[in-house]
Every structure is written in C-alpha cells, then in structure tokens.
C-alpha cells in the first residue's frame, strides 16, 4: 500500500468562493504525508475530472458550500465513469444536509464530512479507505 504516496485532488467545484475549508484540508493532508493538488476555485466537473485523470490521483475530495452538491457530485462521478477512471474514489464535505448524505452515497460518493469534522478524522478515513492505485 505504501509503495507510493497517496495522491489526492482537493477540488472546489461551483461558483462559491468559500475556500477556507478546502485549503485547510489540503494542508492537513499534505502534513499527513500525502501529495495534494488543489484545483483552485470555480471549477466545472469537467475541469476537475480532467485534472484528476491528468494528475493520476487516487481520490478526489470535493468541497461544496453552495447547496449545489446534489448536482455536482453526481456530475463528477458520471464523468469519471465516462473516462474509465471510476477507480478514483470521490469524497467530500461542506454544507450538506444529513438527508442528502445517503442519497449521495447511493450515487457513488464514498464519504461525506460535515461541519465540525476534524482534519484528523478525514486523514484517518483516507488512510483506511483509499488504497494507492498501482
């Protein structure tokens, strides 16, 4: 598993500019020894998937505060499938109501972290659930 460092794309889809969480997560994952690529703001699902494939990442973490999660998570997962890159796991966090979490998981999102989750919880979850791809 530890053949190479985990590569994680932290992505900020949608139009909102709330990047405090995304940047803190990116730093925390880097501090935990992962290779982290942060997309910057205002990314379309197409831009995110293209970056994920090009950078050959193991997982994508999406940060969404705008309420558009029910649109954006499925769009990313569908595009990954289309690129035959559905072994890239998708997780995320942000302002996501509890009721939406099972619906997102049913659509292929691996995990959702809501406000108050610690960066250590997220690091631990990634280490336990995301295998480095060959």
């Amino acid at each position: 598993m530890a053949d190479r460092k985990l590569r994680i794309l932290v992505a900020k889809p949608g139009l909102d500019g709330h990047d405090r969480g995304a940047k803190i997560i990116a730093r925390a994952l880097r501090d935990a020894g992962m290779e982290v690529i942060y997309t910057g703001l205002h990314q379309t699902p197409e831009m995110i998937v293209s970056a994920a494939v090009q950078e050959d990442v193991d997982a994508i973490g999406l940060s969404i505060m705008s309420g558009a999660h029910m649109t954006l998570f499925p769009a990313v997962i569908e595009l990954l499938g289309g690129q035959k890159a559905d072994d890239i796991k998708v997780f995320g966090g942000g302002i996501i109501p509890d009721d939406d979490i099972p619906r997102l998981k049913a659509q292929g999102v691996s995990e959702i972290f809501t406000p108050g989750s610690s960066t250590q919880d997220i690091v631990k979850w990634i280490q336990e659930h995301i295998p480095a791809r060959a």
Partner: protein
C-alpha cells in the same frame, strides 16, 4: 505577530522621545504643550506601587493555593493579556485619543447621542429562490419590525452568469436570490416603495449591473436615483483577498468600483457606493487584527483611486461605509470597532487631508460571525449570536445583521431568522445597551486592546505601503497568505484542544444534531428562472440591446468614460446580467486564481 507589534510600540515610543539624548528631547518637547493625559502622574505612581504590593501579597498567596489555568492568557488575535489592568497600565493614554462621541477621532462613536436618538438599523440579509420568494421574505421581515432591506444574490448573479449558463448548474437561487434581468428586479421589489426603505445589496463583481437595475426599478416607480438610500457592497479588493467571487482581475475591477463611487458622488447623495468589508476577510480565517488591517487598507486603496482620478476627497469619502464581522471574543470585538473609527479618522485627516467631518467618520454595518456557528447543538448558536450582537452594539455599530441558528446547515428558515431578529430587539429594548454612549470606554482593558489593535493594524498598513499599496499586495497574495496561516492555526488549536468550542471539542452530547427545520430550494426555481429569462430575451428589442452593449464595451476600453451610464442604458433595454458581464470578460479576460494553499 506578537513580535512585529512589539516593534511598533517601541518605534512609536522612540519617535516621541528617543531613549538617548534625553536632554535634547526634553527641550524639544517643552516647546510644545505636552498632550493632556487621562491619568495624572501621581495616580499612576500610586497605582504602580499598589499593584506591586498586591502582587507580592494577595496575588502570590492566592497563586500558591490556586495556580492559573494557563501559563499565559492571550486573546483571539494572539495579544498577550496580563491578569489585571489598572490606571498604571494606561499611563500614556491621551485624552485626545479618546475624544468625545461625535468628535474626532470618533473613538467613542460617530454620533454624539448614538442609540439614545436612533437605534441601530436592524437589517437581516435575505435572498433565496426566485425573486418572488425573496420579495415575500422581505415583506415578512418588514412586518416583523425590520428597518432596512438587505439582499443576498445567488452565485451565478455574483459571478456574472445568467441562470441558463452551464456554470450556473445547480446554483440558481441556492445561496441568494436568482437575478438575470431587470424583470427579476421588478419582481424582487414589487410592492416595496424604494424611497421609503433603505436597501443593502451584497454584490460585488456584478455590482454595477445590480445598482443600475435598482435605479431602473426606482425610475419605474417614479423615484429618482437622487432619493435612493442604501448600500451596495461593491468591495472588490476583499473579493480577491477573501470572498473570491470575481469576473475580471483586480485592476479593471477596481476601476469599475471607482466609476461607481464617482457616479454616486454626483447623482446619488444618499447612496453608499462601497461597503468596505472586513466580514469576509474574517470569515476566511483572519484574526480581528488582520480583519481591521486589511479592511482599512482596502479603504485606503479606494480613496487613493478616487483621488488619483482627480476627485476631491471630501466629495466622495463621506459615503464610504464599512462592514465588520463580530466574532466571539467580546472585548476584542468592542475594541476593534473603536480602533477602526480612530484609525480611519486619523488616516483620512492626515494622509488624505479630508476636512469634512463626515469623511473622517467610519460608519459601519456589522454581522455576527457565521463561521463561529456550530453544526453540533445548533440551538447554542442563539447564545453565540446574542453575545456577538451585544459586542457590536457596545462597539457602536450603525446597522446589524444577526445570524440564524441553522445557518451551518442551510439558508435560514423563517422561524430561525425571526429568533435572530428578536435577539436584536431584546438587546435594544431590554439589555440597556441603548442608554449610554460608548459604555465600555475607560475600561482599562478595552482601552488597552483598542490601542494594541490599532498599533498592530498600523504595522500591517506600513508593510502594505512598503509593498506598493493594497492592490499590489493583493496581486502578490500577501493578505491571502496571512489569512490562510491564521485559519490553519485556528483549526489546529481546535483540534489539539487548545481552544474549546462548546459542542464541538468539549461538552459534546449524544443528540448533537437537532431536528431543525431546513429551508430547501427546489430545482423548480432554476427552471422558472430560465423560462423567464428566455421570455425576456424573446420580447426585447435586440437591436437596442446590441447597441447598448456596444456602448458598454466602448466605455470599458476608455478609462475616461464612466461605465455607469452605458450599463444603466443596457439593463433598461433588458440586456442580461450575463451579457453585460460577458462584455467585461471580453475586454479584460476572465480572472482565475491559481490553486495555492
């Protein structure tokens, strides 16, 4: 942080009386009358001796039995705090630094009577769904006693996209009201007489379009723009620093802001064309000192641009207003409001030579800290909001928004927003906050913090000046990096348990997530928006729209032409928000920030 602030204090002292050459400095000082001090030398001496005695006896006996819980207490900006303050700690305090309410340097408030004459404006930010939904919420809030409107726009509107643009997928009406054309503005303000309310609009990159739509709706009601009162946020510098909603890059964005300042100075005497905002800077993770420093720096930036253009500072500075966040550290927040007023007064007088007292006066809106609300045990947020709101009023705010308890989950429900408004009404009518002006003045602690925050913020301003001004500093990412560091430090403190947040890393309970009712925005809103947009496009005079947009483009390309008149003409012809923004993008290019963290 602490290091640099120390430097400031030292250099300030040195500048007044250099340590060496005592005789010379004494002579120099004796030529001018020494500044009047709040506490005379005898009082300070007596207190110094008393404190020394107390430390040796009462305090040390107590510490043997009950050591302090921490070796060093610091406030939320990292300012170290001693156990107790007395007059002795205020020995240099000058009467002129405090002044009196309504007088320079306005430390004690912008008005002589403050809330004894007029309570602060209770202005709850609202906007969601389609314009008819928000119109209904406005009317509800007015019926509940709210005294000013405040409009939140959705992300597509803030970023200059129409509801049918691919970038708008999933975002229409979600974080604010959806707006694409003048038609939407007509619905938004239907039945509200625009000369009887003041309206605040939280919009920046596309602010010029929103303001023109507002002017056009007022005109339809028979209200001339000269009678419109309100505020448009329009603070692009803080967008690049913190909120990150933009269309074009910093320089053209600031040019548009300056056009609006200039236009409003001439035609809209009751309108605040920019609300220089610390709120988003703080929410992005800045400390209170950083919020103070970067916001004042942004204000300096706008004044410099106005002056560069040949405007007389007193012709536009009176309408510049501010917007602060109010976080949990009660005393620090009160001190921040006071320090901000004093700094702005000094800067406007000494740096820009403003003479009109209204130019020197920092008037402000405030909002409780969204970022301080917790998803866990959400009803606790009512207590946080009340404390923050109380600090804002004791700090002397002119206007206030209180957050709702459910905002970590979604936009506030009607019940939650009512509790938030009631919180302000309780403070206003039951707490006594309205009875005495600047009630915490003279508190050794609050006055110390006021001085300390001012000194630390001025240190940042000096560094920004050395970089060549705030626009340059923003282009270099300086404030952004400082804020990122603070945000990460805060998160670490919480995770390491060095900072306790009730319900998050302490006092957790099993029933963390209460069943609070959440406001959900139906996808139907987006469909209706797109349909209305298409209907408007089908019914308008296309030739007129194209001609108006061509004029906007010509004005973009010629710095001497003010953009307000052509944009007003374009929105009146029902050109869409996206179409006008596309002209900006065509001329100046879409701005993008790299993925730095």
């Amino acid at each position: 942080m602490a290091k640099s602030a120390k430097k400031v204090t030292l250099s300030k002292v040195k500048a007044k009386k250099p340590a060496a050459k005592k005789a010379v400095s004494k002579k120099a000082v004796s030529k001018k009358a020494p500044p009047a001090l709040t506490y005379d030398a005898a009082t300070v001496k007596r207190l110094t001796a008393e404190v020394a005695r107390w430390r040796k006896s009462t305090l040390s006996r107590s510490l043997e039995k009950m050591p302090t819980r921490r070796a060093q207490f610091v406030n939320d900006s990292g300012i170290p705090l001693p156990d107790v303050f007395t007059q002795a700690d205020r020995k240099g305090e000058r009467l002129e630094d405090l002044g009196l309410p309504g007088e320079f340097p306005f430390t004690r408030g912008t008005q002589p009577t403050m809330y004894r004459s007029r309570l602060w404006t209770m202005r709850q930010f609202a906007g969601f769904g389609g314009p008819a939904d928000t119109n209904k919420r406005f009317k509800y809030l007015i019926a509940q006693g709210m005294t000013g409107l405040s409009t939140a726009f959705d992300m597509p509107a803030l970023m200059g996209y129409d509801a049918d643009h691919p970038m708008s997928r999933g975002e229409v009406g979600k974080e604010g009201v959806a707006i694409s054309t003048l038609k939407d503005f007509e619905i938004l303000f239907e039945g509200i007489k625009l000369d009887e309310v003041t309206t605040s609009m939280t919009i920046n990159a596309s602010a010029i379009i929103a303001l023109c739509m507002y002017i056009a709706v007022a005109e339809q009601q028979g209200v001339p723009m000269s009678r419109l009162g309100g505020t448009i946020q329009n603070d692009m510098l803080k967008e690049f620093i913190a909120q990150k909603e933009w269309i074009v890059g910093p320089r053209p964005a600031v040019r548009i802001v300056t056009d609006m300042i200039e236009f409003c100075a001439k035609h809209m005497p009751k309108w605040n064309p920019v609300s220089i905002s610390g709120y988003h800077i703080r929410e992005a993770g800045a400390t209170a000192v950083q919020e103070l420093a970067f916001t004042i720096a942004d204000g300096i930036g706008y004044v410099e641009e106005g002056v560069k253009r040949g405007m007389n500072v007193d012709d536009f500075a009176p309408r510049l207003s501010f917007f602060w966040d109010v976080h949990n550290d009660f005393f620090e927040e009160v001190a921040k409001f006071r320090a901000a007023r004093r700094m702005w007064a000094k800067i406007m007088r000494d740096r820009f030579g403003a003479r009109d007292p209204r130019s020197l006066m920092l008037r402000t809106h405030a909002q409780t800290a969204g970022v301080s609300l917790t998803a866990q045990q959400p009803y606790n947020n009512v207590a946080r909001v009340a404390l923050q709101a109380f600090a804002a009023t004791l700090g002397g705010t002119q206007s206030l928004h209180t957050n709702s308890l459910d905002e970590t989950y979604a936009l506030p429900s009607e019940d939650a927003v009512t509790i938030a408004l009631r919180t302000q009404q309780i403070i206003a009518h039951e707490s006594g906050a309205d009875r005495v002006v600047d009630p915490l003045a003279g508190s050794y602690y609050v006055e110390h913090l006021t001085d300390e925050m001012e000194a630390r913020a001025f240190d940042y301003l000096r560094r920004i000046d050395e970089m060549g001004g705030i626009i340059r500093a923003v282009e270099e990412g300086f404030p952004q990096k400082e804020i990122g560091e603070s945000a990460y430090r805060y998160q670490r403190e919480v995770e390491e348990g060095d900072r306790l947040i009730v319900g998050v890393n302490a006092f957790k309970s099993a029933t963390d997530r209460s069943n609070i009712e959440l406001l959900k925005i139906d996808e139907q809103v987006a469909r209706e928006q797109v349909e209305r947009l298409q209907a408007v496009k089908a019914s308008r005079d296309q030739g007129q729209v194209s001609a108006a947009l061509a004029k906007v483009e010509a004005a973009c390309r010629d710095e001497r032409v003010n953009l307000m008149p052509p944009v007003l003409e374009a929105v009146k012809a029902y050109a869409t928000l996206g179409e006008v923004s596309d002209v900006f993008r065509k001329v100046w290019g879409q701005y993008r920030e790299g993925g730095i963290f």
